[in-house]
Structure formats: structure tokens, C-alpha cells
């Protein structure tokens, strides 16, 4: 029986102590659940184990023998395999090419024996029930299947120690169940597994042992048989956590956003939003659930003017904005919290002040004529920082020095900090800490209570269920189901997300 052990691992990034003397141990035939909220240092710890980062202090032992990994190649050779949080697949390669990359079966002259490679991929896929088409191109297959490819990749390298970094984040509830089946199969096959998540339910359901990481340090363990979600939440966050969003019933008013027969194409000119119609009323939160890549991104981009509309119409507050520019839409009192805060929400190298006036810099009071009025911009920024509880040393530091949660608060402050009739928010809390999530959820509900219409797109089912007065489920570019908030179970929505409902 093999064991893998980490002792006293410490890793510092500039200004951050990402891992603080962490100990960890896992053996064959065991699933260790590693729990910790976003930014706790889970990925960093696993990257050290996998040879991607080198630890500042501490050691890695396999069967009590200290190891030194100069790179992932060494870790792989030692029997460690990792399914990364952000998949490490080459989008334009086939499944087989991705699986064999780095350990290709070759004939004379280094020619890849692609037949042999495919045969081995098929064999693993059958043995572990991981169905894939060896010839499919990665960018054409859904994320759920991409994840299977990642697992096959690890198994192909005969890994004994398997690390899964937040594998469930991209899956529907049904796919998660299926995935747990695979995990159990791997455990029975004698693999040692580290399963990383920030979801309490999952870790209790599948683990043999639980370890909790908070702010880089190991704060304790728990026995899945006896612990409760509340205990774990307490351990993970360091204080009791409110697991539900407090809100009154909604009182929908007039239609604010009306979408009819909207068709939007993706970057490759494929239909991404397939003729959908819905509306959002004042004082109402409409949540859009769905597995990533089912047209939500394109929908939001079309609504905010960032992507052309192929057919159909969009009206906001009675005005036709189907072909309006982003600025025209912005000026019709629409707030947009984009999906990727670092790429489209903020200019990372700009100061908080500059980021706060990105949308209004061109008019009074922030500028007159061609001249910026930085004093009024700064005082506005200071006011918003105060009002939205952005934790920062000042308004003149660059956005990239803030934590993810505080970056997101800057965006929310900018977008909500004026009168809006419609809010379009995409993944408003992705990858941020629990405190910030709670805060942003409160603000969203507050906007609703002040009479705004809100469209919240999220792949986190829990978030959609907690916030929404009405839930739309998108699958394959269409709205396949609609529910009243609070009157539906995760399982029902999950089925719709997988395309089972019609």
C-alpha cells in the first residue's frame, strides 16, 4: 500500500502566504477531501505536489521516501496525476492526441503510432466507464466530457495518486453523481485520491477523511461520518456562515427587458443562442442556470451590445436596443457585471479611481472638454469604496493588488453606484471568498428591492437557487425550462441543465 505525505509545506507569493506549513497524508484506496474556500491555497498546494511550483519550505514523501520534483515530469514519474481546476487540454487537438501528449507510443523515427494510442485510450475508457470518442476535437466536446479526457490522461500515465482540483465546478448535479461513481471506482481500483472542493455537501458525501485549509493553513480535519455542514462551514470560514440569502417575496412590476426570438452566433459562427424569448420585470431577479458553454456567455454579450445579434429583438425599458452600441445600452441605465472580471471588468493595471470612472469618465463631473477632473473622480471613488466595503489600502492602488473578492466589489460598486433599471450580471461571485459572496448577494437583493430588474447568469446552481425569483435553464442555446424560485429542487433543475427536460 502506497502513501503520499506532505510535511510542513510553505509557499509565499509576493504579499501572500499561500501555504503555511501544511501537513497532509493520503493512502491507497482512500479519498481525502480537501476543503477550503476560494483563495485558501488549495491549488497552490497541489501545484507544489505536482512539481509545477517549488515549495519554499517542507517536503514531499512517497512511502516515507523524500522526493524532489524539478517539474511535472518528475511528479508524473513518481505516480502522481492531476486533473487541474482549469483543464490542461489543447483545444485544437483530438482526445487521443491530448491523452498521449508527453508519453506518446512511437515507432521508428519518432512517428506516433496513432492506432496504438487510440486503442489504449479506448481500453482505459472502457475499463473505467469513461466514455469518449478518441477522434473528437477537444473544442467541440462539452466540458463534462473534457473532464473525462483529463481523467483518462492521468490514468494513461499509470498514476497511483490522483488529484482532482475542484472537478465538480463545471458539472451538472447528475454529472456530479456520475463523477462520484467514477471516484468510487478508482478508489476500489486502489488509487489514492485527493478531492478538492469548496462545497460542503460533496466532501461529506464522497470522502473517507476531510482536511480543511483556511488562509493557507491546515485548520483541522473531520470525519465525514459524524461531521455536519455547519461545522465544516465554521471550520472553513472561521465563523458561522449564513447559508441562505435572506429576501422577501418579489413584487414584479413592468417589463424592463424583453427578448424575442433572439439568435446569437459564437466566435466560430455557430448558433450559440438559438431563438430564445423571455422577459425580466422591475423588482425581479431572474436567474439563468446552465452548464457553462450553453450560450449564456453569448446571450449576455448580445444583451450588453458586445456581440452582434443575428436575428430577433431586444428591448430595454421599451426602447429597441437590438443593434445598439455598448455605450448606448450603458446609457439606458443598464449595469453589467461581466463574466471575467480580470479581462472585461477591470483594467488590472489601472488604479481603483480609474476603474471606478471607466464608464463615466467622458462626461461631467469627471471631465469637461478634453480634460479629466481627477479630484471629483477620486472623491467619487472614495465614496464608493466606503459604501461598498472594498478592502483596500487606498483608491490609488492598482486593481491587480486586490483580492478577487475586492476586485469584484469594485465592479459591483461602479455598476450599482448609479441609478439602474436593469442589471445583467454574469458569474457575479465566481472564485471569491464567502464573505464577499454574502456581501454581493445582499447588494443584488437590495437592487431588486429598489425596483431594478436583474438577470443573473451563473453556473453555480446553489447561487441561482438562492437568489432567483424566477429561474430559466439554458441548454444548447435554448431556454429548456422555467421555474418559480423556491418551488423547485436542485435535481429537477439539474435534469433540465443536462437537456433531459423538454
Amino acid at each position: 500500500m502506497a502513501t503520499l505525505e506532505l510535511r510542513g509545506i510553505t509557499k509565499r507569493f509576493p504579499g501572500v502566504l499561500a501555504n503555511d506549513s501544511v501537513d497532509l497524508k493520503v493512502s491507497s484506496g482512500e479519498i481525502l477531501g480537501l476543503l477550503g474556500e476560494n483563495g485558501a491555497g488549495k491549488t497552490t498546494l497541489m501545484n507544489i505536489l505536482y512539481g509545477l511550483y517549488s515549495a519554499d519550505e517542507g517536503e514531499i514523501l512517497i512511502d516515507d521516501v523524500p522526493q524532489s520534483f524539478a517539474g511535472p515530469g518528475d511528479a508524473i514519474a513518481a505516480g502522481i496525476g492531476m486533473v487541474h481546476q482549469h483543464f490542461m487540454l489543447v483545444p485544437v487537438f483530438t482526445v487521443t492526441e491530448n491523452v498521449v501528449l508527453g508519453v506518446e507510443p512511437v515507432g521508428p523515427g519518432g512517428v506516433i503510432n496513432i492506432k496504438e494510442a487510440k486503442r489504449e485510450v479506448r481500453e482505459i475508457s472502457q475499463r473505467y466507464g469513461l466514455e469518449v470518442d478518441p477522434d473528437a476535437i477537444i473544442e467541440d466536446i462539452p466540458v463534462g466530457i473534457q473532464q473525462r479526457v483529463e481523467i483518462i490522461k492521468v490514468l494513461f500515465r499509470n498514476a497511483e495518486f490522483l488529484i482532482f482540483d475542484e472537478p465538480t465546478a463545471v458539472l451538472t448535479p447528475q454529472e456530479i453523481e456520475e463523477f462520484f461513481g467514477i471516484l468510487n471506482g478508482l478508489r476500489e481500483a486502489g488509487k489514492a485520491i485527493i478531492f478538492i472542493t469548496h462545497k460542503l455537501k460533496e466532501v461529506i458525501e464522497v470522502s473517507d477523511d476531510i482536511a480543511v485549509l483556511r488562509r493557507g493553513a491546515m485548520v483541522g480535519g473531520a470525519d465525514p461520518a459524524t461531521t455536519t455542514e455547519a461545522d465544516l462551514a465554521n471550520l472553513m470560514v472561521g465563523r458561522p456562515v449564513e447559508l441562505v440569502v435572506a429576501k422577501e417575496d418579489s413584487e414584479p412590476g413592468a417589463q424592463v427587458l424583453t427578448v424575442s426570438d433572439l439568435v446569437v452566433l459564437d466566435d466560430r459562427d455557430q448558433v450559440a443562442v438559438n431563438s430564445i424569448s423571455f422577459d425580466v420585470k422591475a423588482g425581479e431577479i431572474v436567474g439563468v442556470a446552465g452548464v457553462q458553454g450553453n450560450g449564456q456567455t453569448e446571450l449576455v454579450e448580445a444583451l450588453t451590445g458586445l456581440r452582434g445579434v443575428a436575428a430577433g429583438t431586444v428591448t430595454i425599458g421599451g426602447k429597441d436596443v437590438t443593434h445598439a452600441t455598448p455605450r448606448q445600452i450603458h446609457e439606458s441605465s443598464v449595469a453589467h457585471v461581466p463574466e471575467d472580471r480580470q479581462r472585461s471588468g477591470l483594467v488590472m493595471s489601472f488604479s481603483i479611481t480609474e476603474n471606478m470612472v471607466l464608464d463615466g469618465y467622458y462626461h461631467e463631473p469627471y471631465s469637461s472638454g478634453i480634460k479629466m477632473d481627477w479630484d471629483s473622480a477620486r472623491s467619487k471613488a472614495e465614496e464608493l469604496v466606503e459604501q461598498y466595503d472594498v478592502r483596500t489600502p487606498g483608491t490609488e492602488v492598482a486593481a491587480n493588488t486586490l483580492s478577487g473578492g475586492n476586485q469584484q466589489k469594485v465592479i459591483v460598486a461602479r455598476e450599482f453606484g448609479r441609478d439602474v433599471q436593469l442589471v445583467v450580471a454574469s458569474q457575479p461571485t465566481r472564485g471569491i471568498d464567502v464573505g464577499s459572496i454574502e456581501y454581493i448577494h445582499e447588494r443584488i437583493v437590495e437592487e431588486r428591492d429598489q425596483g431594478a430588474a436583474l438577470l443573473i447568469v451563473s453556473t453555480e446552481l446553489d447561487e441561482v437557487m438562492a437568489l432567483s425569483d424566477r429561474i430559466l435553464v439554458m441548454f444548447d442555446g435554448k431556454v429548456v425550462a422555467e421555474y418559480r424560485g423556491g418551488a423547485v429542487t436542485a435535481e429537477e433543475i439539474g435534469l433540465a441543465m443536462a437537456g433531459a427536460a423538454t
Binding site: 501545484n47 505536482y50 509545477l52 511550483y53 517539474g71 511535472p72 515530469g73 518528475d74 508524473i76 514519474a77 492531476m82 487541474h84 490542461m88 487540454l89 489543447v90 483545444p91 485544437v92 487537438f93 492526441e97 491530448n98 498521449v100 501528449l101 508527453g102 508519453v103 506518446e104 512511437v106 523515427g109 519518432g110 512517428v111 506516433i112 490522461k153 426570438d261 439568435v263 452566433l265 459562427d269 448558433v271 438559438n274 431563438s275 430564445i276 424569448s277 452582434g308 443575428a310 436575428a311 430559466l472 435554448k478 431556454v479 429548456v480 425550462a481 422555467e482 421555474y483 418559480r484 423547485v488 429537477e492 427536460a501 423538454t502
Partner: protein
């Protein structure tokens, strides 16, 4: 559950991009039809016949092609107009590119026929023009291959021009003193000294590529800047040496010229034989390199890893592929190819070095790489298109059509731009192209 109203699927037969492109192509065909009918057909009514010679006196015999200019231009004009109409009305679907190629061929055929009939000579050597096309394409193709090797691992290589020029210079300077004197034994068309010159050129290309690699991979200097600087450096350096040193030592600037080798049997085929199979080693070398590099990139372990490094270096890294080493090696292989291409300018062609003799071929090679979609075969196809444009303007100069040859020389380039704008569409470079990889 409140069942969502089931909406019908959006029926997108043709995407906006396709429709736009179809419209563009349709208008282009109509425009070409107007050119053919209005200028060529009308003027050629009393021009009589034109003759394309398919063999030269020394070649295996092939009949001449003699046609009536009036008829040919009229027919081509009508076909082009019909193509434009169909393209605008409903497009050709999957056949779009094939139709485009045919249309372009017809247009150029009609244009050449008209120009020939116009001229007092009334005939020209088609076989000669095709041969020139191939010869002129060689440095462009080789430059493009150098670019492909480097950009496939995500290092932008703007230094191709400098690598070609450096190769050209070094080849002749090394080969000249080693040859000369009594008549030597030829190995594949050159005395051994010529081969040593080629080897030195390849080495010079690798050295310049190594500089590019170190600065852009290790020191993460902007790749465009490094490339430009290398090119400027080599241009200045070779010009200086040519003026100050070679001018005083002409014996150093008198290299052997690689002789043509006819491939047995194949070179006896009428027309195709002389066009394809009777060349010097640089031409055959570029054919072989295209095949070899295609094989390397798409069939071997090496190629799979190289492409992975260009598309998603982090993924490659997590699988134990050494990103830095892969990049170094590929960039340097690219440099070797460019150095070989450089030697063509001197040893493969005129035998001497002249200031800035590459004259922008490296940059055209870069364009050929993009038109060729970062694929060796595509690079060669694009290289041939540029070579053809070159050969054609040369032919038009000889024909003396009465219209300024500078103006006529533009026609192929205009045609090329039209095609490229319509044909290439959205080419997708390697995803990580130009981005340095920084490990934690």
C-alpha cells in the same frame, strides 16, 4: 414546472460572415468579368491569335497552344459573369474555394492571352514563365517555412528577412575562396566548396535564430522588436561589409552557382518535366523540406509536442514537455531553413552578393506563412502564388503591351490581394503565438 414554450430552432443556412464573403466574391467575379469583357474582349476583336509556347528548343517537345484572343476573352468574360451571378444569388457552398480558384485561373488565362495578342511578338514561353514561378517561389517558401517552425511553438519570427540576408552573404563569402581554379568534380551540381558555403549559411541562420530565441524566450524581450532589430542589424552589417570589404576583394564575392539537375525520366515529360524536374538543389530542397516538415509537425512525437507548446504551453508543461527546450530547438531549426534559403540568393542564383539583395522576400515569406495558415504545404502554395505574380510581371515586361509594364505588373498583385481577402477568411494562428511562457 412551467414548461418553457418550445421555440423552433433558428435556421441559419448561411451565417452573416458567409453571406458577406459570398457577396464579396460575387462582386469580385462581376468586376473581373467587366474587366475582361470591357477591356480585353472589346480591344481584342481584331487582335487575332495568341500563342503560348509549352516547350523551349532544348526541352522535350510539346505542341504550342494557339487560340483566338477574341473568342477566349469573350467566353471567359461570360463564364465569370455567370459565376458572379450564381455566387450572389445562392453561393457555391462547399465549392466556394474551388470556384474561386477556377475563376482566378480563367481570369489570368484571359489576361495573358489578351496581353500576348496585344504585343507585337504574339507569343510567349509558358514553360519559361512556369519555371520562373517555381524558382522565384523558393526563397519565399523557405522563409515561410522558417516562420512556420518558429510560430508553431509560439515564437514570432520577424527576423526571417535578416536570416535570409545573412545566409546569402555568408554562403558566398565562405564558398568563393574554396572554389575557383581548375574544374572540380561536382556533387549534385556544385563543387564541395559550394556545399561548405551552404553549410555555413545554414549555420549563420541558426546563429541568428539562436539570438532571437535567447532574447525572446529567456529574456522575454518583445519578439517583434527583437526580430526587427536582428533584420536591421544584418542589413546594415552586410551592406557595410559588401561595400567596404567585398568591393576591394572581388575574389571573395565570386561563388560557384549550383547547376540544374534533371531528374532522370521525370524531366523528359513534356511541359511538366522542365517546369518541375529540372532545377538546382535549392528548388528540390524546398520541395523536400515542405514534405519533411509536414511529416515532422503532424506525424511525429516531436511535432505533437511542438504544436502543443504553441497552442497551450502550460498544458504541455504539466505533462512534462520541456516548453523552453522545444521552443529553442524549433526556432533554431527554422533559422537553419532560412539560412538555406539565404544561400539560394547567391549560390543558387547569381553567384555574388549585392547589398540588400533579399529585397523584402523575408517579409513576403511571413505573409506567405499567414496565407498558408501556418502549414508547410500552405506556405508553399502561397509562395507559389507570389512567385507566379513575380514571373508574370516579368513576362509582361517582355511582351511590351503598349501599356506601361509597371501598371500591368500591378495586375497580379491586385488579383492576389483580392484572392487573399476573399479566400483566406479567418486564419487562426497558434493560440499562444507571441506570448512568452513564464514559469512560477
Amino acid at each position: 414546472m412551467t414548461a418553457a414554450a418550445t421555440t423552433p430552432d433558428a435556421v441559419i443556412v448561411r451565417t452573416p460572415a458567409e453571406i458577406k464573403r459570398s457577396r464579396y466574391l460575387g462582386i469580385t467575379y462581376l468586376f473581373l468579368a467587366v474587366v475582361v469583357l470591357w477591356f480585353f474582349a472589346r480591344w481584342s476583336v481584331d487582335l487575332g491569335n495568341f500563342t503560348f509556347k509549352l516547350a523551349r528548343p532544348t526541352d522535350p517537345s510539346a505542341p504550342d497552344l494557339t487560340l483566338s484572343a477574341g473568342r477566349v476573352t469573350l467566353i471567359v468574360g461570360v463564364i465569370l459573369a455567370a459565376m458572379g451571378g450564381v455566387q450572389l444569388a445562392r453561393g457555391f457552398g462547399k465549392m466556394n474555394n474551388l470556384v474561386l480558384a477556377i475563376g482566378l485561373f480563367l481570369f489570368i488565362f484571359a489576361f495573358l492571352g489578351w496581353a500576348t495578342a496585344q504585343s507585337s511578338i504574339g507569343a510567349f514561353s509558358m514553360v519559361g514563365m512556369m519555371k520562373t514561378t517555381i524558382v522565384r517561389s523558393v526563397p519565399i517558401t523557405l522563409g515561410a517555412l522558417a516562420g512556420v517552425m518558429s510560430e508553431r511553438v509560439a515564437v514570432i519570427n520577424i527576423a526571417i528577412e535578416g536570416q535570409l540576408l545573412g545566409g546569402a552573404f555568408v554562403a558566398v563569402v565562405v564558398a568563393s575562396p574554396l572554389t575557383g581554379g581548375e574544374d572540380p568534380t561536382l556533387i549534385l551540381g556544385s563543387p564541395i566548396g559550394g556545399w561548405i558555403g551552404v553549410g555555413a549559411a545554414v549555420f549563420a541562420g541558426m546563429l541568428l535564430a539562436w539570438v532571437l530565441a535567447v532574447l525572446s524566450i529567456r529574456y522575454v524581450v518583445d519578439q517583434i522588436i527583437v526580430g526587427v532589430v536582428i533584420t536591421i542589424f544584418v542589413t546594415g552589417m552586410t551592406s557595410f561589409l559588401a561595400l567596404r570589404w567585398l568591393a576591394d576583394n572581388p575574389e571573395l564575392n565570386k561563388g560557384p552557382i549550383f547547376k540544374s539537375i534533371g531528374i532522370p525520366l521525370l524531366s523528359d515529360i513534356p511541359f511538366l518535366g522542365p517546369v518541375l524536374f529540372d532545377h538546382n538543389i535549392f528548388v528540390f530542397g524546398s520541395f523536400i523540406l515542405v514534405a519533411f516538415l509536414t511529416f515532422l509537425l503532424f506525424r511525429t512525437r516531436w511535432g505533437l509536442r511542438a504544436r502543443a507548446v504553441g497552442e497551450h504551453p502550460k498544458a504541455a508543461d504539466t505533462l512534462g514537455v520541456n516548453v523552453y527546450r522545444t521552443r529553442y530547438l524549433n526556432v533554431i531549426i527554422g533559422g537553419a531553413v532560412a539560412g538555406f534559403g539565404g544561400a539560394f540568393f547567391t549560390l543558387g542564383s547569381v553567384g555574388r552578393f549585392d547589398e540588400n539583395m533579399t529585397n523584402g522576400r523575408g517579409f513576403i515569406g511571413l505573409a506567405a506563412m499567414i496565407f498558408g495558415r501556418w502549414h508547410p504545404v500552405g506556405a508553399m502554395a502561397a509562395g507559389l502564388v507570389f512567385g507566379f505574380a513575380d514571373a508574370m510581371s516579368q513576362t509582361l515586361g517582355i511582351l511590351q503591351t503598349g501599356i506601361p509594364s509597371e501598371f500591368l505588373g500591378m495586375v497580379p498583385f491586385i488579383a492576389t490581394i483580392l484572392v487573399v481577402a476573399g479566400l483566406v477568411g479567418k486564419a487562426r494562428p497558434p493560440a499562444a503565438d507571441g506570448q512568452p511562457y513564464i514559469k512560477q
